[in-house]
């Protein structure tokens, strides 16, 4: 019991730390002064070809990009979300930017010191001697992967963890087999856009029977001005494999909005499990709603094999606009999908996020826990779909969606869709919306805890069910973020 307590205190320690941080602004808003290789602004077939050529891609991949681009031309930006987005000029964006280094990016061992410094500053050491133990990292800046750590150690077990571009060259068959197999380029507007112009990202392959010995992590950093980031992540877990994958992201503070449109695809075979955790902290814009990242992400995993499992955990505190629905297709019998989410919006942020659980196999189970926290003048929506297909005997779903309101100028909305086509299914959805309790705040005050700090405590408590699902290091980071994001939201 005592050990438990001590462990708890250790994380409480950091929890207190963040209260010092509450008075700070967005901490990752700096710009790295590094020469960047840009391609011309705008989007057309030539640009798509240019990106492909820059990456020295095989013909089939260029074809994939062009098909996606042509399809994208026929689409319009979706408007169904509870978001108010000014029109985006897709011709005003630079679709490829890479930090100029002396070496080409094909030799990741010799990374420009300036870049190493940048990631150091973000708390992501890439030097051999300083590398985080127990975690392998793929660091991506703008359109290219800067470095992947522990690659060799992992390779010994047959695990492939590398940048997407490397995977295209080194493991073309695997990429070809799985690329677009979960998120087709025809899936939606942003998926088509990403498929046409995606630049880099991570590729993970865990072979049969291998439990990945460390957490794999990708850190995304937008640095260059006027560029968009379009990364693509593909994770494949073969039979009986296991991996825990983490994703973090930041961007400089800028007055203009920047676009981020990513795709994540996960394929999980028999009895395998993938845990995917995100702490999303893109620049949210300033207090007046100026600037910030537009975050449009398509994340989807398929539990292809029987008894397989995908678990999404996300802490969303950043971005001016978030449009994101990490989903599970539960195709294998007895497969399990989970979605745990904390979404915080403050000032003028807007978030429309949730999940889709598509039950296809028999005895499939899914669980959704969503905690929305709205402050300032923000709008925070949960949107989710639970579908039980005709053949999904004995499917079970339980969803819990709670909203906490911290101001009288924000909005909290819940839009669940439930579609049940099998009579043996049990689908349950509960949602509540409430204000932060005056009684709880006063109780903390009486014990000497100032209101701002009390809010941090109560909000972290409210989100605990989700935070507990994160790996330890990430949980600490997430707790900090929660309090920092809500700075100035009460009073």
């Amino acid at each position: 019991m005592q050990i438990e307590t001590e462990k708890q205190i250790m994380s409480d320690e950091t929890n207190n730390l963040l209260n010092e941080l509450t008075n700070k602004d967005y901490a990752y808003g700096f710009v790295t002064d590094i020469k960047t290789d840009f391609i011309p602004k705008g989007l057309n077939e030539e640009i798509v070809r240019l990106i492909s050529a820059k990456k020295d891609e095989p013909e089939w991949l260029l074809d994939f990009r062009l098909k996606a681009y042509r399809y994208w031309l026929t689409l319009r930006m979706p408007e169904w979300a509870h978001l108010d987005i000014p029109s985006i000029n897709y011709q005003d964006i630079i679709y490829y930017a890479s930090p100029k280094t002396k070496e080409t990016s094909r030799h990741p061992d010799e990374v420009d010191p300036e870049l190493l410094k940048t990631f150091d500053k973000l708390g992501i050491p890439l030097h051999e001697q300083k590398m985080l133990s127990g975690m392998a990292i793929d660091a991506v800046m703008d359109s290219v992967s800067v470095k992947t750590t522990y690659k060799e150690n992992l390779a010994e077990k047959g695990i492939i963890f590398c940048s997407f571009s490397e995977a295209v060259h080194d493991h073309p068959d695997l990429v070809k087999k799985y690329l677009g197999s979960v998120v087709s380029y025809r899936d939606n507007f942003f998926a088509a856009l990403n498929s046409a112009v995606f630049s880099d990202g991570s590729f993970v392959f865990i072979p049969k029977g291998v439990r990945c010995p460390m957490d794999l992590s990708t850190y995304f950093r937008i640095n260059a001005r006027n560029t968009g980031q379009f990364e693509r992540t593909l994770i494949v877990a073969e039979e009986d494999a296991y991996v825990s994958y983490l994703e973090g992201c930041t961007a400089p503070m800028r007055d203009e909005n920047q676009l981020h449109a990513a795709i994540v695809e996960i394929v999980v075979l028999d009895r395998a499990e993938v845990k995917y955790s995100t702490v999303q902290n893109w620049y949210p814009g300033d207090k007046n709603g100026k600037g910030g990242i537009y975050n449009f992400v398509t994340k989807r995993g398929i539990c292809k094999g029987e008894s397989s499992k995908i678990s999404w955990t996300q802490v969303e505190t950043g971005s001016a606009v978030t449009w994101k629905y990490p989903s599970c297709i539960l195709a294998g019998d007895n497969s399990i999908g989970e979605f745990y989410s904390v979404a915080v919006t403050n000032h003028f942020q807007q978030a429309d996020t949730g999940t889709k659980m598509i039950h296809i196999g028999k005895n499939t189970r899914s669980r959704i826990v969503s905690k929305g926290i709205s402050a300032g003048k923000s709008q925070n929506s949960y949107r989710g779909l639970v579908r039980i297909n005709k053949g999904a005997e004995n499917a079970r779903n339980h969803s819990q969606c709670d909203s906490l309101l911290l101001s009288n100028t924000c909005g909290a909305h819940t839009f669940p869709y439930m579609d049940v086509q099998n009579e043996t299914a049990i689908v349950e959805h509960e949602a509540t919306t409430s204000k932060i309790s005056e009684d709880q705040l006063f109780y903390c005050n009486q014990r000497g805890i100032p209101t701002e700090e009390a809010v941090g405590l109560i909000v972290n408590g409210y989100a605990k069910e989700v935070l507990n699902k994160l790996p330890m290091e990430f949980a600490v980071e997430a707790q900090k973020l929660l309090s920092v994001s809500l700075e100035g939201s009460v009073g």
């Binding site: 169904w80 101001s407 669940p416 579609d419 049940v420 919306t433």
Partner: protein, 441 residues
Amino acid sequence: MQQYIDFFRTHRQQIDESCAPALNSFREKAFDVFRKTGFPPCPSEDYLHTDVAALLKDDFGFFLNPPGRTVDPHKAFRCNVVNLNAIKHFIVNGYLLETKDNAPLPQGVFSGSLHVFARQHPELFLKYYNRLAGQEEDGLAAFNTLFVQDGYVLYVPEHVILENTVQLTGISGGSSRSLINRRILVILEAGAQAKLLLCDHTSDEKSAPAVTQVVEVYAGENAHLDFYELEESAPEAVRLTGNYIRQAAASRMITNSITLSNGFTRNNYRIDLAGRQAETRLYGMAIADARQKIDTFTRINHLVPECRSSELFKYILDDEATGAFCGKIIVSPDAQRTEAYQNNRNLLGSRNCRMYSKPQLEIYADDVKCSHGMTTGQLDEAALFYMRSRGIPADEAALLLKFAFTSDVIQGIRLEGLRDRLKLLIEKRFRGELIKCQGCI
């Protein structure tokens, strides 16, 4: 859609002829709206599972002239709801029949034909008619306004309490497929109270009418209205309703809609809680089997502080029935201290039935208590087993559980006679003995 536009153009004179000028005065605007919007597009967020244009695409017949009184509805349709002591009205194919045998009404109360009301009280009519339904450009409401020739009006002046329940029996049908448009307008002035029961039927099991019905309700300050609807129609019948309700301060309203049988039912509810401390209870229940479809769309707007709403919808689906429920609760920025609760519970009884549920909360105020819940599942196996282990046959046990499932909706009815009658009807319905409405007709 075009067929209706053409029909209106060619038959306008005939439609107008038998109607009060006040009623006709709304058609021009409705025509513009309908030409612009057409029927609500499907699928769209508010009409995901009801394709109005497809439902009304056949060549339906219209009843452009009031029917003669060939049968005495009092003899043909006996209502078996005991102890109701009702003020009875019959609305046949959209036209309210004259009734002479009702007891005299309290001073100032109007209970009768829309058409007569528009003639006798044009100023009141113009003040209220289509003010709620015409607020938004809804193609279905516009369509109804365009063609409607009669319906029912209940007007209760200030502080008058109408003790007796008004029972409105709707009978639709005929030998050919007909399209019936009818309208109900309920105005309760401040402090007034009334209870309205609409029993909706088809003339026989084979008739396949399509009915559009727009209901507008104004509940003044402190007014109380109970509005019950019981639908027992033939398997090919289509009914599309739009209910528009506006409640002033401290008004209380119970709306309870029960579908025992029908072909396709779509019920829209839009309730504006526009005065402080207004309270609304919106309940509904449907038992659907064969290829029945039931689609409910509700939108409760909490416009001012301190209002309460509670919603409960329960469906029991079997065979190839489809159920849909979309419930929106919208809390406006200054509607503090709102309490809003919504529940949708569904039982699926077979392989081929299907349920779509979409509860939604949109909240722009902070001091609120709101929740929604939805479950779709089957009868509790453990309970079934427990009952069987006590000697209750499986079928009977299932029936008891299904019956229990409906009980909280039935308990929401404040007319004892109706409650008792419903219990009997629901049991018969579950036993498959309810071939046609035996009770009411």
